[in-house]
């Protein structure tokens, strides 16, 4: 089965958006915030997990851009045969 490249890019954008957003939330929820003894290991974990969450958020935001690009390509490709006709 051949998928049109516009739809492929659109689907990739959707995957980036959904996976990025929900994984970012998941990582954020998993950050060990309760640290009564001021453990530096937990503080380090906070630092790195927050970085990962931020990067996943950026991926999800980039996914929206990819979806838009995918949509544009899909419609451009759709119009091309008509112009050839």
């Amino acid at each position: 089965m051949k998928i049109k490249r516009g739809i492929g890019i659109l689907l990739a954008g959707v995957v980036m958006f959904l996976a990025g957003h929900f994984l970012a939330q998941l990582v954020l929820d998993l950050i060990p915030t309760i640290n009564p003894a001021n453990s530096s290991a937990i503080a380090d974990a906070n630092y790195h997990m927050l970085s990962i969450s931020n990067q996943l958020s950026i991926i999800s935001q980039f996914g929206i851009i990819v979806m838009v690009i995918g949509g544009i390509i899909f419609f451009v490709d759709k119009r091309k045969p008509r112009i050839q006709d």
């Binding site: 009564p36 503080a43 969450s53 931020n54």
Partner: protein, 444 residues
């Protein structure tokens, strides 16, 4: 803005409904954390609490942008929840809905399933078995980012919020019978409320951390006791109050007869200075405050009170200090300038009333105060058939219907002493008989 990463500092806060923590330096900025909770006063069936954190620049009170906080909440040293919160504006609003039907705590950012995708508004809903009761809630707040979500810092604040708790206690007094005393604890939950009818003392305890760090930050500990007016043993002019066996200064105990017709309200207020004094004087430093309140044997005359419109200050005393049924009491009063110390006002008209309870007029006199500042005296003969609470009222001072003031008192039963005490007479007669008879028998 430069915010170096991983500076471990901490600031502390005490249990209040609103406060701004002392500023700390992050990078080149003085940063404060403002904490607010509302509603401030709740009953025990409240439906929710809103908590607001704002991370702001101490110099201009402007919130920082792109703030990430890791907040963990504790009560009685037990962790309630921990979560990372983000806000583009630096302003966080937590809508806490207590729900004891669920054992899990759900924390959701407002904005649907894709909340936070294009920005963080800072509004969160916290639902679960948290904040269902009053008391002291402690927060550990780690600032993870400031200025930008990529700019990671590490800064720790310790804060606390007190949610007042109201409790009613039914006690049994030997003379006044069953009475319901209400205690509103503004700092932390109280426990072990007891009343000893023999020495007329109410006692209760409250958890309290006496560590120097905590004492440095506690600005006020406040207990409010609502005493029903028919509880005449406790309607006095002065109270003796103790915390961990240390007697409180008079300024820590204040009486409010204005706010309620049904209750005398007694406030026990310990500011930082009083808390430090108790910490230095107490012998047994356990992690609680043991309160004791009893009517004082002394009288706090003169009783001074502002009129409702704060135009005058009424200074009142009476003799004998214990008002007795069937006997005459001399009331002495002065009308003072509210802004000057012990300065009486010029001669003004007044209405003086004594009311049984709150409604039954017992005595009334209209007159004019003395011109030379001497106390004005009124003798009142109290009827034999009334004992209980009375209200001593000053009205229409200088013809102004808003210039009035009410002071509570109690008419007590007189202790009837027999005019010819039979018991001692019998004992004396027996002694004389023995003295007379014994020498006669000893001769034989």
């Amino acid at each position: 803005m430069i915010f170096p990463s991983f500076i471990f500092l901490s600031a502390y806060g005490d249990g209040l409904a609103s406060e701004i923590l002392p500023p700390e330096v992050i990078g080149n900025k003085n940063v404060t954390l403002s904490i607010n909770s509302s509603p401030f006063l709740i009953d025990n069936t409240h439906v929710g609490t809103q908590i607001n954190f704002i991370l702001q620049d101490a110099s201009n009170q402007e919130p920082f942008q792109d703030v990430t906080l890791a907040v963990s909440a504790f009560k009685n040293d037990q962790a309630l929840f921990g979560h990372v919160f983000m806000s583009d504006s630096g302003n966080f609003l937590f809508d806490v809905a207590p729900d004891n039907s669920s054992s899990k705590i759900a924390i959701n950012e407002e904005g649907g399933p894709f909340a936070g995708l294009l920005g963080h508004g800072g509004s969160y809903q916290i639902k679960g078995p948290v904040f269902a009761s009053g008391g002291l809630y402690k927060f550990k707040i780690e600032v993870l980012t400031v200025g930008s979500y990529d700019n990671q810092v590490s800064k720790s604040y310790n804060a606390a919020i007190s949610i007042p708790e109201t409790n009613n206690y039914t006690i049994n007094d030997k003379e006044d019978g069953k009475q319901t005393v209400t205690v509103i604890a503004y700092y932390d939950q109280i426990k072990n409320f007891q009343y000893n009818s023999d020495n007329k003392t109410m006692t209760f305890s409250m958890p309290f951390n006496w560590s120097p760090d905590n004492l440095k930050q506690v600005s006020v500990v406040h207990q409010e006791l609502k005493i029903p007016r028919p509880f005449t043993n406790f309607i006095v002019t002065k109270y003796d109050a103790f915390v961990n066996g240390v007697k409180l200064e008079d300024r820590s105990v204040s009486i409010d007869d204005y706010s309620s017709d049904e209750y005398r309200i007694v406030h026990l207020i310990l500011y930082k200075q009083e808390a430090n004094t108790i910490a230095a004087q107490q012998h047994n430093a356990k992690s609680e405050m043991d309160f004791a309140l009893s009517p004082s044997n002394e009288t706090a005359f003169p009783i001074t009170q502002y009129t409702r419109n704060a135009q005058y200050k009424v200074s009142l005393s009476w003799d004998p200090p214990k008002i007795l049924a069937g006997q005459t009491t001399r009331f002495s009063f002065q009308i003072l300038d509210p802004y000057l110390v012990n300065k009486t006002v010029d001669s003004i008209d007044y209405d003086f009333s004594i009311i049984a309870g709150k409604n039954g007029l017992m005595f009334h006199k209209s007159g004019t105060t003395s011109n030379n500042g001497d106390p004005n005296t009124i003798d009142v003969k109290f009827p034999d058939n009334y004992t209980g609470p009375i209200t001593i009222g000053f009205e229409n001072l200088n013809g102004n219907s808003f210039s009035d003031s009410e002071i509570s008192g109690v008419v007590s039963k007189p202790h009837i002493v027999p005019e010819f005490p039979a018991g001692p007479l019998v004992v004396i007669a027996a002694m004389f008989s023995v003295i007379i008879i014994f020498p006669r028998f000893s001769r034989t």
